[in-house]
């Protein structure tokens, strides 16, 4: 316990330095700003804003990126409540009751409870990370290549199970991602694979290029296709941002349950905020004394999913910080950002760079506090932003994407590659193939190959090493079990229902 406090003290020392406070603030504001815009999710937001952090020291860069992430989450809820359009998928359920509340003139209370619920959830999740991360990282340090390989298999299987739509297509997308990730120079033999003699390709394809093409460009194009969306802004002025005492009493249970569900689901590979908010809403609808009001403006229907998605967003940092393995596309981007900063993600980060590790954790709490405080004075600005029509917004989004991609290597070639991935992303949307599993596969591809090779070398070419090592066997067993469970007809139906709202 004493360790925990001295660690957190170290972290807050870093996070509360004037510079880092400013970067955190900047990240939270930028993230909210972009997250408020309907049609851009957190992945595109982070990819877009990545170059802003290039010239910062690693701690500040990661603090800022984390701020952008939960800023984007929070911005999404604002849009969900005010215009009935989820700014990003994890606030899709918030639209149900949030918009009804806004219709009844209680937009202020809905926004307020979303912010406060998120803050409580964020505080709890920060503690969970601080307590759970060190022992997990210790376990992870004992992992050999076989265990790592199996862990990645489990992560990828879980990611496909939790993706919506066809399971087969999700697995195929993972495979495609793994393959694309292999493009570039093979570390063992030095052979430039799949580079077709193009020098830029021998370094591999940057993950920002893939993310920006498949999420950023493809999203803009599909949004334009759908024509002018119906955006109905209910209130030009939001009053009464502070919920009443009665609201607090009504919501305390919902916030607590949402926080717990979110914290658990966030850790799961492939989980994170989206799954957390859906499950929290479904559970609250069953448990709440007020369940008759759900769908008609129940404040619990806002509090529960908003708390859950924020808790989930934060605990999804646990696999990243302890194992160096991303559990969702946002975390894949964070890994990429760490690599750009010259940090190899993994359990050693905590021991080798305690300032970075604990500073980042402490800054999460600081960032959440900022979101609550900012919400009050800034809400008018966000509302203004929502009245800007999409035809004026998308050229700006496009521009930020282009500058972002170009400035990674100062290369126009990267911009053209992004166009290619934009085309691929567009057709994937048309063919109902989810891009998220591809991104995960893409980031894990080289790591998987590396660990597979090492494991096989250690076992002298005996593939049974993956099932004779106990930890590895358990991980693979869980992966297999997950696949069977999902393929069973009864559950398949449930899974389809669960994603219907999306």
């Amino acid at each position: 316990m004493g360790d925990l406090f001295s660690n957190l003290a170290l972290g807050f020392g870093v996070a509360l330095s004037i510079n880092n406070l400013l970067y955190c603030l900047g990240g939270v504001i930028l993230g909210t700003l972009i997250g408020v815009l309907p049609g851009i999710g957190p992945v595109a937001t982070i990819a877009m804003l990545l170059p802003v952090t290039f010239n910062l020291p690693p701690v500040s860069a990661l603090i800022m990126l984390a701020g952008i992430y939960y800023g984007a989450q929070y911005g999404g809820s604002t849009t969900a409540i005010l215009v009935n359009l989820p700014g990003e998928s994890s606030s899709a359920v918030t639209t149900i009751d949030g918009y009804q509340m806004a219709k009844q003139g209680r937009a202020g209370a809905a926004l307020g409870i979303a912010a406060i619920g998120s803050f409580i959830a964020g505080t709890f999740a920060t503690l969970v990370i601080a307590i759970a991360a060190p022992p997990l990282a210790e376990v992870a340090l004992k992992f050999g290549p076989a265990e790592y390989f199996s862990l990645m298999v489990l992560g990828l299987v879980a990611a496909t199970v939790l993706a919506h739509g066809s399971l087969l297509k999700a697995i195929a997308m993972v495979l495609l991602g793994l393959l694309l990730g292999l493009i570039g120079t093979d570390v063992n033999s030095g052979v430039a694979r799949f580079s077709f003699g193009i020098p830029e390709l021998s370094d591999g394809i940057g993950f920002v290029i893939v993310a920006m093409g498949m999420f950023g460009f493809a999203e803009i194009i599909t949004n334009l296709e759908q024509g002018d969306e119906q955006r109905e802004l209910l209130t030009k002025k939001v009053t009464g941002l502070l919920p009443t005492m009665q609201d607090f009493k009504d919501c305390s249970g919902a916030i607590m349950r949402g926080t717990l569900i979110g914290s658990c689901l966030g850790i799961l590979p492939g989980g994170g905020a989206l799954l957390a908010s859906f499950s929290a809403y479904a559970l609250e609808k069953k448990l709440s004394w007020n369940s008759a009001q759900f769908g008609k403006g129940a404040i619990q229907g806002v509090a529960a999913p908003e708390s859950a998605n924020n808790a989930g967003a934060q605990t999804s940092f646990i696999p990243l910080l302890t194992l160096g393995i991303p559990s969702n596309p946002v975390m894949a981007l964070m890994i990429g950002a760490m690599m750009i900063q010259g940090i190899a993600p993994g359990p050693q980060v905590m021991t080798e760079r305690p300032q970075l590790f604990w500073g980042m954790i402490a800054s999460m709490w600081v960032g959440n506090l900022m979101l609550v405080v900012l919400n009050l004075p800034m809400i008018g600005l966000w509302i203004k932003l929502l009245t800007v029509p999409y035809r004026m917004l998308y050229p700006a989004i496009l521009l930020f994407c282009c500058i972002g991609v170009y400035s990674i290597n100062n290369s126009a070639f990267d911009v053209y590659m992004t166009v290619l991935f934009g085309v691929l992303g567009y057709f994937c949307v048309k063919l109902e193939c989810e891009p998220a599993p591809l991104i995960l596969g893409f980031i894990l591809g080289p790591m998987m190959e590396e660990n597979l090779r090492r494991a096989m070398l250690l076992s002298r070419g005996d593939p049974t090493t993956f099932v004779t090592k106990p930890i590895s066997a358990v991980l693979l067993g869980v992966a297999l079990l997950l696949l069977f469970v999902v393929l069973s007809p009864a559950l398949r139906k449930k899974r389809e229902e669960a994603f219907v709202e999306d």
Binding site: K169, L175, L178, L179, R193, M392, P395, L398, L431
Partner: protein
């Protein structure tokens, strides 16, 4: 004659995955396979490509068998696709030789044709605003190494 395609999306998705799988296997034939103990650069991609091909085949075959409600592909709107991507390519081509100001202006003006509601005056204002903003933030603020103006002007 083949039986009717019941799920157009899966039909094309299956073909796409098969093509990718095959392409990776074929290209990987140029590299050394290695052994189980010491895997060569071709080992993992060939294995993955094979799996990819088989999965694609399953998806492809199933598209003839199982009927779904909305299996048809929604209409492709090629205009936004081409206009947006073309404007991005122009940006890439222009940025170095013509400088940031021109590249941004072209990107915004051209991409504005991708929507179905083009308003000239409005887009001019948006362009001016974004050029000024980007120069301030990216060039002066973040110090990203762009040329502001065309190279031949000597800046």
């Amino acid at each position: 004659m083949m039986s009717k395609i019941k799920n157009e999306k899966d039909f094309w998705a299956g073909l796409m995955f098969m093509a990718f799988g095959l392409a990776f296997i074929l290209v990987a034939r140029n590299y050394a396979m290695g052994s189980n103990v010491r895997m060569g650069p071709a080992y993992f991609p060939t294995a993955l490509g094979g799996l990819q091909f088989v999965l694609g085949l399953v998806i492809f075959v199933r598209s003839f068998l199982s009927h779904v409600e909305n299996g048809a592909i929604k209409k492709l709107h090629l205009r936004p696709l081409f206009v947006i991507l073309f404007s991005v390519i122009l940006f890439g081509v222009l940025l170095k030789p013509a400088g940031l100001v021109i590249a941004i202006s072209v990107l915004i003006m051209v991409s504005a044709f991708g929507g179905n509601d083009f308003r000239f005056k409005e887009i001019v204002f948006v362009t001016i605003g974004l050029v000024v903003g980007s120069v301030a933030v990216f060039y002066h603020g973040l110090g990203l190494p762009f040329n502001l103006w065309p190279e031949f002007l000597g800046y």
